[in-house]
C-alpha cells in the first residue's frame, strides 16, 4: 500500500525520533502530500508500519484540522474566517466564491478541482480579508478579483 518512496521518507522521520509512533503525524503528512488525503487503507498501512492501532492513529488524524480523512479536490482553498477578516467583510468574499464554484465550506467542486474550507487567522490581519490556495497567499482580496485568481488553477 505504501510506496517505496513514501517508506523511505517515513523511515527518515522515524530516524529523528526516539520511537516509531512519534513519527505518525509526519507519516500522515507525507502520504497526504502524495495522495491528497488519508483513506482508510492508507490509515491502516501507516498504522501497521508504525506498529500502532488504526484507532489510535485515527484519533490523532481526526484531531488536526488539516489531515483530511475524506477525499479533497486538487486545490485547497482556505478562507480566513477569524475576527479581523470578519470585521473586514470576509463574508462578501465567501459568497463570491460560493457563487462561482457552487460549493459551501467543507465541499468539493464536482470536477474535483477545489475544496473550500474555513481557516483560523492566517496572520495577515493587516491585509484582511485573506485566503490561502495551496501554497499561495492572497491578501486584501476584493471579490471582483476572485474569478481571475481562481482561473490560475488547473
Amino acid at each position: 500500500m505504501l510506496s517505496t518512496e513514501e517508506i523511505k521518507e517515513i523511515d527518515h522521520e522515524i530516524s529523528l525520533v526516539p520511537y516509531k509512533k512519534a513519527a505518525c503525524i509526519e507519516a500522515m503528512k507525507i502520504v497526504q502530500r502524495n495522495r491528497g488525503w488519508i483513506s482508510d487503507d492508507a490509515l491502516k498501512a501507516i498504522a501497521d508500519y508504525l506498529e500502532m492501532s488504526t484507532a489510535e492513529l485515527d484519533s490523532v488524524a481526526t484531531f488536526y484540522n488539516l489531515i483530511f480523512r475524506k477525499p479533497v479536490g486538487r486545490h485547497i482553498i482556505l478562507v480566513c474566517d477569524s475576527i479581523t477578516c470578519w470585521i473586514m467583510d470576509y463574508k462578501a468574499l465567501y459568497i463570491a466564491i460560493q457563487k462561482q464554484l457552487n460549493i459551501k465550506f467543507g465541499e468539493t467542486t464536482t470536477d474535483g478541482k477545489f475544496t473550500l474550507l474555513p481557516n483560523a487567522c492566517l496572520g495577515c490581519c493587516d491585509h484582511a480579508p485573506t485566503m490561502l490556495i495551496d501554497d499561495d497567499l492572497y491578501r486584501n482580496i476584493n471579490a471582483d478579483e476572485l474569478e481571475m485568481i481562481l482561473n490560475r488553477y488547473e
Partner: protein
C-alpha cells in the same frame, strides 16, 4: 528610536542571506556566547528583564534557570521555538519568521547553549508556507557555516536543528500541547507539575519560547542588560512588536518601545479610524484578551499597565472594534473560534463554549431571550481561571465578560428589539 528586531527587515526584499546577515553583525552573539559560561548568559537574560512575548509574560531568564544543569543533568535537552501563531488578530511572529529567519536561528543557538540543549525545533504552523521555505534555507545555511551541527565554531558544543510544520490546531501553541504534537500525539495539554523545564519533550528537560522572545536574545548578548532595559518606556525590558487591525486607516505591525500608549498606536501609527467609523473598543493583545474602551486609550502597552486596566498585553497585537460593527457578532465570531479549537479535555470548555456560541448566535438572529445574559455571565465565570486545564477557556472568557460589561446595552437592544441593530 532603536529597532533591533526589525532593523534588518525590509518588506519588499527577501530576507538577509547568511553572508548579508553576518555583514550586519549577525552571529556575533553566537561567537560571544560560546565563550561565556551558560549560567552567565542565563543571568544576563534574567537581568535584562525580558518577559516572554507568547502571551503569559514570564521572565525568560528565570524560566531558563529551572532547567537542570551540570554533570548530573540529563544529556538530552530540547529547545523549541513556538511559531504556531494561530491566535486570531495576531500577526507579529510572521514578520520575524519571513523577514529575518537568521535572527531567530541565532537566538535559538544562544538559548539552546544556555540551557545545554542538544536539539532545537521550530514548531511552525501549517499555513506559514513562505516562512517554512525561509526557515529551511536559513537552517541549511547555518549548518554549512558551522553555526549548527557538531563542534560549533570549535567550541565543543553540538546542536541539531529541525523545522517541524504542524497540521493545524490552535492548541498546538499551548506549550505542553505543543510537546504532545511534537511527539506525534493529539495536542492536548499536560498536567503540571512536572513542568516542561524538568520533564518536557520525550520526558527530557525542555524550554518552549515564543519566536519574538528568542529574536531578542542575540541583541541582549551583544549590547547588555542595561541597553535592553533602556529601550523601554516601562519597567519591562526591550521593544515590542505591536500590531493594529480592524477599521483603521493604516493597519500594520511596528516595533516600538515597550510601554507605548494605545492612543499613539491607534492614532499615530495606524492613522486613526477610517473615515466614517468611530472607535468603540479594542482587544489590546489578540483574541483572548479583555476589551478596553475609550477611557483606556492612554494606558501604556506593557504587562503591568494593561493588567491594571483589566486586560492583558497578550501578544501585543490589537483588534479594533468600530461603531458600525456589532459587538455581539464580534464576540460570536471569537467564541466560534474557541469552541471549534477546544481540545475537549475539560467540561466548561468542551460543553460551555458551544453553548455560549449558540446563545450569541440566537441573540444575533433576533431570537435572544431575557435570561440569556445571565447565562452568558455564568459561563464567563465557569470558563475563567482555575476551572480548566489550560488557558484556552479563560482566554475565551476574557472578550466575552468584558463585552458584557462594556457593551451590555447592545446585547439588551438585540433581545428587546428581536433583531441585530447593525444589520
Amino acid at each position: 528610536m532603536e529597532r533591533p528586531l526589525t532593523r534588518n527587515i525590509h518588506p519588499n526584499r527577501p530576507p538577509l542571506t547568511l553572508k548579508e546577515y553576518e555583514m550586519a553583525g549577525g552571529y556575533l552573539a553566537v561567537k560571544k556566547a560560546l565563550s561565556i559560561p551558560p549560567k552567565e548568559i542565563i543571568d544576563l537574560v534574567k537581568e535584562s528583564n525580558l518577559k516572554g512575548r507568547g502571551g503569559a509574560g514570564f521572565n525568560t531568564g528565570m524560566k531558563w534557570s529551572f532547567v537542570p544543569y551540570g554533570e548530573n543533568s540529563p544529556a538530552t535537552k530540547y529547545l523549541v521555538a513556538n511559531a504556531d501563531e494561530m491566535e486570531p488578530g495576531t500577526f507579529k511572529d510572521r514578520l520575524l519568521l519571513e523577514g529575518n529567519p537568521h535572527q531567530l536561528i541565532e537566538g535559538m543557538i544562544v538559548a539552546a547553549y544556555a540551557i545545554g540543549a542538544t536539539t532545537g525545533y521550530v514548531f511552525l504552523r501549517y499555513a506559514y508556507k513562505e516562512a517554512a521555505v525561509k526557515i529551511t534555507n536559513a537552517i541549511n545555511e547555518a549548518y554549512n557555516a558551522g553555526y549548527l551541527g557538531f563542534n560549533i565554531l570549535g567550541s565543543g558544543y553540538n546542536l541539531q536543528m529541525h523545522l517541524h510544520t504542524g497540521v493545524g490546531r490552535y492548541m498546538c501553541g499551548e506549550e505542553t500541547a505543543l510537546l504532545n504534537a511534537l511527539e506525534g500525539k493529539r495536542a492536548t495539554p499536560r498536567a503540571k507539575p512536572p513542568f516542561p523545564q524538568i520533564s518536557g519533550l520525550f520526558g527530557k528537560p525542555t524550554i518552549v519560547n515564543n519566536v519574538e522572545t528568542l529574536c531578542n536574545i542575540p541583541h541582549i548578548i551583544n549590547n547588555g542588560a542595561d541597553w535592553f532595559k533602556n529601550l523601554s518606556y516601562s519597567e519591562d525590558g526591550g521593544t515590542k512588536l505591536y500590531g493594529v487591525s480592524g477599521r483603521v486607516k493604516h493597519p500594520g505591525c511596528w516595533e516600538l518601545p515597550m510601554g507605548i500608549s494605545i492612543r499613539e498606536l491607534i492614532e499615530e501609527y495606524a492613522g486613526g479610524m477610517q473615515d466614517g467609523y468611530r472607535f468603540r473598543g479594542v482587544l489590546p493583545g489578540g483574541a483572548s484578551t479583555d476589551f478596553l474602551v475609550e477611557q483606556h486609550l492612554d494606558i501604556k502597552m506593557d504587562f503591568k499597565s494593561v493588567a491594571m486596566a483589566g486586560s492583558r498585553l497578550g501578544t501585543g497585537t490589537m483588534i479594533v472594534l468600530d461603531d458600525k460593527t456589532c459587538p455581539v457578532g464580534f464576540v460570536h465570531n471569537l467564541q466560534q473560534f474557541f469552541a471549534h479549537e477546544s481540545c475537549g479535555w475539560c467540561t466548561p470548555c468542551r460543553e460551555g463554549l458551544p453553548w455560549v456560541e449558540k446563545i450569541l448566535w440566537s441573540i444575533e438572529q433576533g431570537q435572544g431571550k431575557p435570561g440569556d445574559l445571565d447565562l452568558l455571565d455564568q459561563h464567563a465565570k465557569l470558563l475563567g481561571p482555575g476551572n480548566t486545564f489550560c488557558a484556552l477557556a479563560p482566554g475565551a472568557a476574557e472578550p466575552l465578560q468584558s463585552a458584557l460589561k462594556y457593551f451590555r446595552e447592545d446585547f439588551e437592544r438585540h433581545i428587546r428589539n428581536k433583531q441585530c441593530p447593525y444589520d
